[in-house]
Every structure is written in structure tokens, then in C-alpha cells.
């Protein structure tokens, strides 16, 4: 069972790496948000895999469902923000945001 846990954690670490790499290097706002989604996939894989290995799958499932609901709310808000930023700047380039003055 430990081998299986290793396998899932290994792959979820890869997913989190892909997401963080994209967050650090890309400039498109939507791409950055896709990266956040990929990281969240890695995290939910860790939760369910650990639940399966440690025999607390029911608790893990309920946590993942809560996590998915939070994710959906986050996506809706963030995409609305992205649309507003696009209407203002006419671009999705994240570097233009540094010109904003608060």
C-alpha cells in the first residue's frame, strides 16, 4: 500500500510542479488561472489518495467535495475579474497590471 501512496504522491507532486512552473513563467492571465486549477487537481489527488491509503476515504471525499465547491466559487469570481481587467486594459498580459495605481 505504501508503494501505491508513493505513486500517487509522486504524480501529484508533478502536477503541482507543472502548475507552479506555469505560474512563475507565463504572462497570460487565463493561463495563470489554468495553472491554479492544475495545482488544485494535484492537491485533491493527494487528499483522496491519502484517504484511500489511511482507510479514511469517506472523510477525504467530503473534504474534496468542499474543496471543489470552493474551487468553483473561486473560478467564477476570478474569471469575472479577468473579464473586467480585459475590458479595462484590452489585454490579458499580467505585466500591464503592474501599471495600476491604487
Amino acid at each position: 500500500m505504501s508503494n501505491l501512496w508513493f505513486l500517487y504522491l509522486f504524480f501529484s507532486a508533478i502536477l503541482i510542479f507543472i502548475g507552479i512552473y506555469c505560474l512563475l513563467t507565463m504572462r497570460n492571465l487565463i493561463k495563470l488561472f489554468i495553472a491554479i486549477e492544475i495545482i488544485s487537481k494535484g492537491v485533491s489527488l493527494v487528499i483522496v489518495a491519502t484517504g484511500a491509503v489511511k482507510h479514511s476515504l469517506l472523510l477525504a471525499q467530503s473534504l474534496v467535495i468542499t474543496y471543489i465547491v470552493v474551487e468553483v466559487s473561486l473560478v467564477a469570481t476570478a474569471l469575472a475579474l479577468i473579464i473586467n481587467i480585459y475590458k479595462k486594459n484590452k489585454s490579458l498580459d499580467v505585466r500591464l497590471l503592474s501599471k495600476l495605481k491604487g
Binding site: I18, C22, E37, A52, H55, L58
Partner: protein, 162 residues
């Protein structure tokens, strides 16, 4: 075991495609396929409720939201990415694979985890009785999201009136 590895490889490949694809719509669709793979993995891990939520909400609803946003911002929303990003990705990826393989096994033995033990009851009992506060928080988060979206779009209309 082999099927599990294939599913996990598919998940990683489509996640990689989602960040490397030049077209945003293709990236969003790759993300949906990755979600589908994750949902199947959840089913294989005997977590059907999480799998259903993953496939219906993440692969379905979030993809629709992404496609909508991409359609609304497509006109001149293209951003040129640095060339080095795609060239350097395989290099960093292989480097990370090696580090991940070496570190993760020793990390698993060292990190303390909760004691393992069989849990009783059904999923409904756990969700509705043990984690009731989570459900209250979920309602709060959904309401906050709805209000945030309403506020973000209302502001624009007020600007027009002025």
C-alpha cells in the same frame, strides 16, 4: 497497477498540454480531459462521490466558464509568451522528476501522518453529521462568490450611467 499508472500519466500529459498549448481554448479542453482522468482515478480509488463531483463540476462547469471567458476576451487577448518558457520546460520537468523520485520515498517515511484506522458509517453520515460545519462554510462560499460576481459586473453598469 499498470492501469493506475496509465491514468496518472494521462493526467500529467493533459495537464502539461494545458499549459503548453498556444490556443487558450485547446488549453481549457486539455484541462477538462485532465479532470476526466482525475475523476476516473477517484472512481478507481473507490471514491465515487468525489469522482462524480470532479467530472460534473470541474470537467463540466469550470470548462464552460473558461470557454465563455476565452470567447469574451478572444478579440485581442493574445499575449506573447517568452520563448524560453517552452524550451526550458522539459529540462526543468526531467530535473524535477529525478528530485521527486529521490526525495518522495524518504519523505513518506519521515513525515508523521494521522494514525490509520477503519472508519464506520456511510458517506452521508460523515458528510451530513460529522462535517456539518463544512456544509455551512460551503453555503457561505457560494454566496460570497455569487455576490462577488454580481458586484464585479454591476460596477460597469454604474460607470455607463455616469
Amino acid at each position: 497497477m499498470i492501469l493506475q499508472i496509465m491514468l496518472l500519466c494521462g493526467l500529467v500529459i493533459f495537464a502539461g498540454l494545458a499549459i503548453l498549448a498556444k490556443d487558450l481554448l485547446k488549453a481549457a479542453l486539455s484541462l477538462a480531459v485532465a479532470s476526466l482522468f482525475l475523476g476516473i482515478i477517484f472512481f478507481r480509488l473507490s471514491a465515487p462521490y468525489a469522482g462524480v463531483f470532479e467530472i460534473s463540476v470541474v470537467a463540466g462547469l469550470i470548462t464552460v466558464l473558461f470557454a465563455l471567458t476565452i470567447a469574451l476576451t478572444r478579440k485581442d487577448g493574445e499575449v506573447k509568451e517568452a520563448r524560453l518558457v517552452k524550451i526550458a520546460f522539459p529540462l526543468f520537468f526531467i530535473l524535477f522528476l529525478i528530485i521527486d523520485g529521490l526525495v518522495m520515498k524518504s519523505l513518506l517515511q519521515k513525515v508523521p501522518s494521522l494514525p490509520a484506522g477503519p472508519e464506520g458509517g456511510t458517506f452521508g453520515e460523515v458528510l451530513w453529521k460529522q462535517r456539518t460545519f463544512d456544509l455551512v462554510a460551503q453555503i457561505g462560499v457560494i454566496l460570497a462568490g455569487v455576490l462577488a460576481v454580481l458586484a464585479l459586473f454591476r460596477k460597469k453598469e454604474e460607470d455607463k450611467d455616469e
